[in-house]
């Protein structure tokens, strides 16, 4: 009986030692490479606004929202992302149809205002994040050459639950969701096309 128990004790001790060594080694190896918590973000240079951001997020109201980079925005009156330029114009010549299905793109007139002629004014465009569902229609409509490309989709971290594996990243056809160690916008791809 004691022989059995001492043999079992030996195997137990050997097993524990092996366990600690393996775990310690693996932990040490990975700890040397550890970094801050990684987050996911949309790479605007790859995104094609395919609508999957709206439907693939684990949240029913997607954490992906459109944002407007104001330093690039043209503040156009006839913003191609705000209004459907092909739609029927009203008596002042302004198209009446809107691009955003959720009416999340809002605008207000800024700067020196001309109340008589809407064409004379600049408009600041902002996104109502309660309404925006990340479909990307405005982003697509703002792309050059129609617009300046100031609208882009972004994962908003006040909504994102920071899943271990972003469910949108799994299905994104453009591999446009990247995992970053530092929150920010991924640097854009090199757009210069060089013929050698």
């Amino acid at each position: 009986m004691s022989e059995r128990s001492s043999r079992r004790q030996f195997f137990d001790r050997a097993g524990r030692l092996f366990g600690f060594v393996t775990l310690g080694g693996a932990a040490g190896l990975l700890a040397t490479r550890a970094s801050a918590n990684a987050v996911y973000q949309v790479d605007p240079s790859k995104c094609t606004s395919c609508d999957l951001c709206r439907t693939s997020c684990v949240l029913s109201h997607s954490a992906v929202k459109a944002v407007n980079d104001f330093d690039k925005c043209g503040y156009c009156m006839l913003c191609p992302a705000y209004m459907d330029v092909m739609s029927m114009p009203d008596e002042k010549g302004v198209p009446t149809g809107l691009i955003c299905p959720q009416d999340a793109l809002k605008r207000r007139v800024v700067g020196t205002v001309d109340p008589d002629d809407p064409n004379n004014n600049y408009y600041e465009y902002t996104i109502d994040e309660e309404r925006c569902d990340g479909c990307g229609k405005c982003v697509k409509a703002c792309l050059p050459p129609a617009g300046n490309g100031s609208l882009r989709l972004e994962i908003r971290y006040d909504r994102c639950v920071e899943c271990n594996e972003c469910a949108i990243q799994v299905v994104c056809p453009d591999i446009a969701i990247v995992r970053l160690d530092v929150p920010g916008i991924p640097p854009p791809a090199d757009h210069s096309v060089v013929h050698e």
Binding site: S45, K46, C47, T48, S49, C50, D51, L52, R54, T55, S60, H61, G74, Y75, C76, M77, L78, C79, P80, V85, M86, P89, G93, P95, T112, D114, D117, N119, N120, N121, Y122, G136, K140, A141, L143, P144, P145, A146, G147, N148, G149, P173, D174, A176, A189, H191, S192, V193, V194, H195, E196
Partner: protein
């Protein structure tokens, strides 16, 4: 010894709570939560047209390019025979026969007094003879954006807040700064008229008339209701007609405006419209401007890239459709030579195409 169930002590209230009520409550709670989650389920996802457009092949250039091109509206061309002039491409400078001369960028095109072509790109100004032979080239600053050639052959190159003047063979013979040093002016077009230099400043949204030393003589464009042009896309282009009228694009209002040299307004034409080919499309057009020697006005547009020719009163007389240009261009560099041929520079393909008008009389339409 007899067990007597009736003598067994009753479980205490605490035991009853733990053991008898917790599991059913947990079960009901779990099922209720799942039901709540099911009721919060999102609506059916709509079919995603963008996925088909994105494609999977390795042959695509940039995904943004492909997505944007597929969503651009189609052009409405004028019906055949309705216009007085028909333009057709007759030559290409930097075409496909030799390797294209511009590898990364084509920033502007201008013509010299003898119809030599000056094209700026890749950090250089290149000079071509009228038949396309390369003549000279010299480097310019990397902030250079536009150029023009004076009647005496001096080349004026303008960029962020400064104008550089080059003489023969590219020797820099002078220059001056425009605007505030702290906030450099965004100069997007330049023309020379005698001793006056007209520079278009897209950040101040005005045209400055300066003298040869750079001192401001007067502003053009501030004698209007908004005191400046409306520029959503940050490009202001200008041209000078033979009679000294200054033409300036007003892209936010989709029109070409006329001014006297001292800044007095002298009219305008053009309006927004997606259907009529004589109208200007999109958010901010026309982006580019040139005038012919006989006073007709040449405009360049983006979104539906095309070049149109108008009479002074706004009648459309010529149309060069989007099939000649890359759909992704955000401007088309325009210049008109002494024979009335239009040189159109495509900044995406980095080629310069020469368009000539078939004489209207030959068609018997006019």
């Amino acid at each position: 010894m007899a067990p007597n169930p009736s003598e067994a002590p009753l479980p205490s209230l605490r035991e009853r709570l733990w053991r008898r009520w917790f599991p059913p409550v947990a079960v009901l709670g779990g099922i209720a939560t799942l039901a709540a989650a099911a009721l919060r389920a999102r609506p059916e996802p709509s079919p995603s047209p963008g996925r088909e457009a994105a494609g999977t092949g390795a042959s695509r250039t940039l995904p943004m390019a492909q997505a944007s091109a597929s969503s651009l509206p189609a052009a409405v061309a004028p019906a055949d025979g309705t216009l007085a002039r028909t333009y057709a491409p007759v030559a290409t400078i930097g075409g496909t026969a030799a390797a294209p001369p511009f590898k990364r960028s084509l920033l502007d095109v201008a013509l010299g007094p003898g119809d030599e072509v000056f094209a700026m790109g890749d950090g250089l100004v290149r000079q071509f003879a009228a038949d396309g032979r390369a003549l000279a080239q010299w480097p310019v600053t990397d902030t250079a954006d536009c150029l023009t050639v004076a009647s005496d052959g001096r080349v004026f190159v303008a960029g962020a807040g400064r104008v550089d003047i080059y003489g023969a063979a590219g020797a820099r013979i002078g220059g001056f700064a425009v605007g505030d040093a702290a906030k450099p002016a965004s100069l997007t077009a330049i023309r020379v008229l005698g001793t006056d230099v007209l520079v278009a400043d897209a950040s101040a949204r005005l045209v400055w008339r300066v003298d040869a030393a750079g001192r401001v003589v007067n502003r053009i464009g501030d004698q209007q209701k908004t005191k400046a042009f409306i520029l959503p896309n940050g490009r202001l282009d200008l041209a000078v007609a033979a009679d000294g009228t200054v033409l300036v694009t007003d892209t936010g209002r989709h029109r070409v405006t006329f001014w006297a040299l001292d800044g007095t307004p002298a009219g305008a034409f053009g309006k927004f419209g997606m259907a009529d080919p004589a109208d200007f499309v999109g958010c901010c057009n026309p982006v580019n401007l040139a005038v012919t020697l006989d006073g007709t006005i040449v405009t360049g547009e983006k979104m539906i890239p095309r070049v149109k020719v108008f009479e002074r009163d706004g009648r459309l007389i010529g149309y060069i459709g989007p099939e000649h240009f890359d759909r992704m261009v955000t401007q088309i560099h325009l210049a008109v030579d002494s024979r009335g041929r239009i040189l159109a520079g495509d900044p995406v393909r980095r080629t310069i195409t020469v368009f000539a008008a078939a004489a209207a009389q030959e068609r018997g339409d006019v």
